[in-house]
Symmetry: C2
């Protein structure tokens, strides 16, 4: 599969795919006789995995380390597991943070939903409701 198709399938630009290869995140992709990249199933799996992890915000550095360990074979399984567990932990924390922010946003949006009502009340009763940040 040529780079453009991979690029479209995973919504990663060709430039980025080549970049990932340059920095050693993905091992060199096979080429056809004229030197054009031809991604095989293994390459695609790697790209998909990286896409997924990048979407979740894992840094390239960590992924490079991880992919390097995969290349080194079975004796790195423990190390890989450690990396994944650590990233899992971070991700869980991250999700809690997002959830908190989501709650606050909901609360604020609700506040705005009531804002017009409150303004009427203000006028009627001559009080001032507090500033909505």
């Amino acid at each position: 599969m040529k780079i453009k198709e991979v690029s479209e399938r995973y919504e990663i630009s060709s430039d980025t795919l080549r970049y990932y290869e340059r920095i050693g995140l993905i091992p060199p992709v096979n080429r056809n006789r004229s030197g054009i990249r031809d991604y095989d199933e293994t390459d695609l799996k790697r790209v998909e995995f990286i896409k997924c992890m990048r979407t979740a915000g894992l840094p390239l550095e960590t992924l490079i380390e991880y992919m390097g360990l995969v290349q080194q074979g079975d004796q790195t399984i423990e190390a890989r597991k450690r990396i994944l567990k650590e990233q899992r932990r971070r991700l869980a924390v991250r999700m809690q943070e997002l959830q908190q922010t989501l709650d606050i946003l909901d609360h604020k949006i609700e506040g705005y939903e009531n804002a017009i009502l409150n303004k009427e009340k203000e006028l009627r009763e001559g009080i001032e409701t507090k500033e909505l940040l």
Copy 2:
């Protein structure tokens, strides 16, 4: 409250706090006679809000726009609500993405938990279990 204390309370560096002021995210903070920033309650609320939204990944540009609207008073309530709703929507999408990645990580970790067992099986039965990415 002086900048250092604010910085510690919200885990935002003093440089970043000043930076936020420079780019117009936070309106100018009051100074004491010698020109040193003295954050009041309103300032702290703004900082807290920004901290929370930045943690969730909202871009500075959006926050600047939003904070600008807050400064302009009640006639911008609709616009503000629209911004918050849009960000809420994005955040929900983001969380789904993270959840997906979390599931995949769990799956992979489980795969690694079994990896040693599988290796024994390989030896016993002379088969090869597929590569663990």
